[in-house]
């Protein structure tokens, strides 16, 4: 570089000036502008033409991409369901057909809620995103979410598959939870939901052992259990384990305010609880195989670990995959409490920017994914459970029966009521399926948890700035190597090594000097 600019000062100057301006501009855009203004200002690229551009950001592998083989057809009695094209393409065609407008979906994906949040902070602009409930709460708290239009809730419109088909159970949760005085259902439409629990190898771990968060501290499975590498999930599990006695006590369970008290206990973020959780997690760290981000499924299938803390959707996938190798895994939900989670669609103000055409397309996208056959395609493809129960449309229940229902001549079957999800009434006899008994511990339990499990399900709300700072610091402390743990001997050896290094270096230099 020195040579290139050695002589021509004029050129050098002008380049310097130009680049200085460039850097300044970059900085202006990158740092000084409000975060949601985008790197080069939110340029509305879709201003031209009558094509609506819908920018959707979803979890990775969280939508059916089509391309199914012939033998993958879901042959329900009411008709076959098969994924030929990606749902995104199907949506574009469907939208044009029903709304008479062209839409182009720019589909992108994110890896974690935090990644999505950071992407939004850096200035990526999306119209429709699908984060988890706590991130939805955070976005709502920061006033970034565009409320759903009234038309979206119009049950007369038959294209409104979401409001006509969402499970009464999910609907009631969304209606009864608020953020900044606004109930969730005004801003968010559920996509997938599930609970957390343990996938385990029934030949090694008993159901009883797997049905408590204390499995993580069980010395019988020393270094054979993996746990999610995620502060929220591990904190929830730690709280569950630490409060195990209280949460499973007769008094507590039969309390009339059980559901509310349970949610309070599981969302305990007092300093004392955080400190105890830290001690607990530091303690079990040694007992665990590892904290994992996504290797847990594979390790379970290959038998490296005997139990794995898992989200129900991934649990279904794990059990399915293992079954293909004739290896049977079970699922258990801890007795103390389980974390019920949602991923839902929210529109972002920064993206929609009050463009009614865009909002219409975004809401149509949600509705299209909520059409029962599309919900089934997604469920089949990703293993998670759709929030859609279908309403009048019976195909979701039919699909459930298609997946898990017992053969007619099968023995050892049980009745499995799923009324809470499909009808709103747990006792409703219209929504009972007959399943092989083993399914009570397998995919069915994970995909459509029993009423018992739902009773002890607790939502984990989002931590505000201060809480999350303390909890994140706790988590870093759990994961970091504490310098105070270094034994003195290691320090001495290290010191000797450094001294040796310095001596060698000096000797090397002296030798050089002698040579010349």
């Amino acid at each position: 570089m020195r040579n290139i600019f050695g002589k021509s000062r004029g050129l050098r100057k002008s380049i310097l000036r130009g680049t200085a301006a460039f850097v300044l501009l970059t900085l202006l855009f990158g740092v000084l502008l409000p975060p949601d203004a985008g790197f080069f200002g939110a340029v509305n690229a879709d201003a031209a033409g009558d094509e609506i551009v819908l920018r959707v950001c979803n979890w990775e592998e969280y939508i059916d991409l089509g391309g199914w083989e012939e033998d993958e057809v879901i042959d329900l009695e009411s008709g076959d369901i098969i994924g030929e094209n990606s749902l995104v393409e199907d949506f574009e065609a469907w939208f044009e057909e029903n709304y008479g407008k062209k839409v182009r979906v720019e589909y992108s994906t994110f890896g974690t809620n935090e990644d999505l949040y950071n992407m939004l902070t850096i200035g990526d602009v999306y119209d429709l995103v699908c984060p988890s409930e706590y991130m939805i709460m955070k976005l709502m708290a920061e006033d970034r979410v565009q409320p759903l239009s009234e038309g979206f809730f119009d049950q007369e419109n038959e294209l409104n598959y979401y409001t006509n088909g969402v499970s009464p159970y999910i609907r009631s949760i969304f209606e009864t939870h608020e953020q900044n005085g606004v109930s969730w259902d005004k801003c968010a439409a559920g996509f997938m939901w599930g609970v957390t629990g343990f996938v385990y190898n029934p030949e090694v771990v008993s159901e009883e052992e797997a049905s408590t968060w204390k499995l993580m501290e069980n010395r019988d499975f020393y270094r054979q259990i993996t746990v999610k590498d995620n502060v929220r999930d591990t904190y929830f599990a730690a709280v569950g384990a630490l409060k195990s006695e209280l949460l499973t006590s007769e008094d507590f369970v039969s309390d009339p305010d059980y559901a509310m008290r349970l949610q309070d206990e599981m969302n305990d973020t007092s300093q004392e609880m955080i400190d105890r959780a830290q001690d607990y997690l530091q303690g079990i760290k040694d007992n665990l195989y590892s904290f994992e981000t996504d290797s847990g499924k594979a390790d379970m299938i290959t038998g490296k670990v005997v139990a794995n803390y898992q989200w129900s959707g991934d649990a279904v996938y794990t059990m399915d995959q293992a079954e293909e190798d004739d290896y049977y895994l079970n699922f258990a939900v801890p007795e103390e409490s389980t974390n019920i989670y949602f991923d839902g669609w929210v529109m972002l103000k920064a993206g929609i920017s009050e463009d009614p055409r865009k909002q219409e397309a975004a809401e149509a996208f949600i509705n299209f994914l909520s059409r029962p056959d599309n919900a089934i395609r997604n469920m089949y493809y990703i293993g998670y459970t759709s929030t859609i129960s279908g309403g009048e449309d019976g195909r979701i229940l039919e699909y459930l029966d298609w997946c898990y229902g017992a053969e007619e001549d099968e023995e050892d079957t049980v009745e499995y009521p799923v009324g809470y999800f499909f009808g709103g009434d747990p006792e409703d006899e219209d929504y009972v399926i007959t399943v092989p008994e083993e399914q009570l511990h397998r995919q069915l339990l994970a995909q459509y948890p029993s009423g018992d499990v739902i009773r002890r399900a607790s939502i984990m709300v989002y931590f505000d700035q201060d809480e999350s700072e303390v909890i994140n610091r706790m988590w870093i402390r759990v994961r970091c190597f504490n310098i105070k743990n270094v034994p003195l001997a290691v320090w001495i050896v290290l010191l000797l090594l450094v001294i040796a290094g310095v001596i060698l270096y000096l000797r090397h230099r002296r030798m050089k000097e002698q040579n010349y």
């Binding site: 460039f22 935090e114 270094r223 590892s290 994961r479 270096y505």
Partner: protein, 262 residues
């Protein structure tokens, strides 16, 4: 304006500005500000007073140090033998060592994971050892190549002269070949040591649940603490700078002796 050699430099200057200078400025900005955008040194003092962050630094240094030493111990003999032997298929053998680099890194580590599981049974019992093995596997070619290149370009007449003057094989090696190959060693070390401090993917994949510098930065970012994360990145940068200055010093001394860098 006349087209000259200087004009050729413009794309590189722009590249440097966009991908090196600008991110650095942003990094500095975040490292020395707090959430409200005010100047603060708290991120810096916070780093050095927290036993966990300092512990992570030490742990990373330990992993990087052991990895580098192991790499060097394996790479030097290989490079030396290859460079000095009369083998005709030298290129093929070098290729065998470089070959893994052509395969995707996470695939390689996944394969290594399976192999280690067969050998060790339960990987979770040896997290430190596994991390070092994984890193060594990953970085070995970066150590072999520069050393090989240096030794292969050494003037053979120097060793011959040493032998003529009565040095035995051993002292010819220690007095001539080894000192002359220092530049290769130095550049090998800097290509192994620095990445080894931050390559947390290897640790993740081999189930080492302890954070090193890379994962620590990541954890700060996923907690939206860009300021603390940037400061850690900056501390790393400072370490790298000091390291590079030191090694540069070494290299300059040896420059006259004709050492070659990769």
């Amino acid at each position: 304006m006349k087209f000259s050699r200087k004009t050729l430099g413009i794309p590189y200057i722009i590249f440097l500005l966009i991908f090196v200078v600008a991110p650095l400025i942003v990094l500095f900005y975040y490292a020395f500000t707090n959430g409200q955008g005010q100047f603060t040194l708290k991120n810096l003092t916070g780093f050095f007073t927290d036993p966990n962050t300092v512990g992570t630094l030490v742990y990373s240094l330990a992993i990087a140090l052991v990895t580098t030493v192991v790499c060097l111990l394996i790479a030097y003999p290989v490079a030396y033998i290859l460079a000095t032997s009369g083998l005709k298929q030298k290129g093929v053998i070098i290729m065998i060592f470089v070959l893994p680099m052509w395969i995707n890194f996470s695939l390689r580590i996944t394969a290594l994971k399976e192999i280690l599981t067969v050998i060790e049974g339960n990987l979770a019992f040896y997290p430190f050892l596994n991390s070092v093995i994984g890193m060594t596997y990953d970085f070995l070619p970066f150590m072999i190549l520069p050393i090989y290149n240096t030794i292969v370009k050494l003037d053979g007449s120097l060793t011959e002269a040493a032998r003529d003057l009565g040095a035995n094989e051993r002292s010819a090696f220690f007095k001539i070949t080894l000192p002359l190959s220092v530049p290769g060693i130095v550049s090998g070390i800097s290509m192994v040591f620095l990445p080894a401090m931050t390559n947390y993917v290897v640790l993740d994949m081999l189930y080492n649940s302890t954070y090193i510098m890379g994962s620590l930065i990541g954890s700060y970012f996923s907690a939206y603490n860009w300021h603390g994360g940037s400061m850690i990145a900056l501390v790393l940068l400072a370490i790298i700078c000091v390291f590079t200055l030191m090694t540069n010093g070494l290299e300059k001394e040896d420059a006259r002796t004709g050492g070659a860098l990769l």
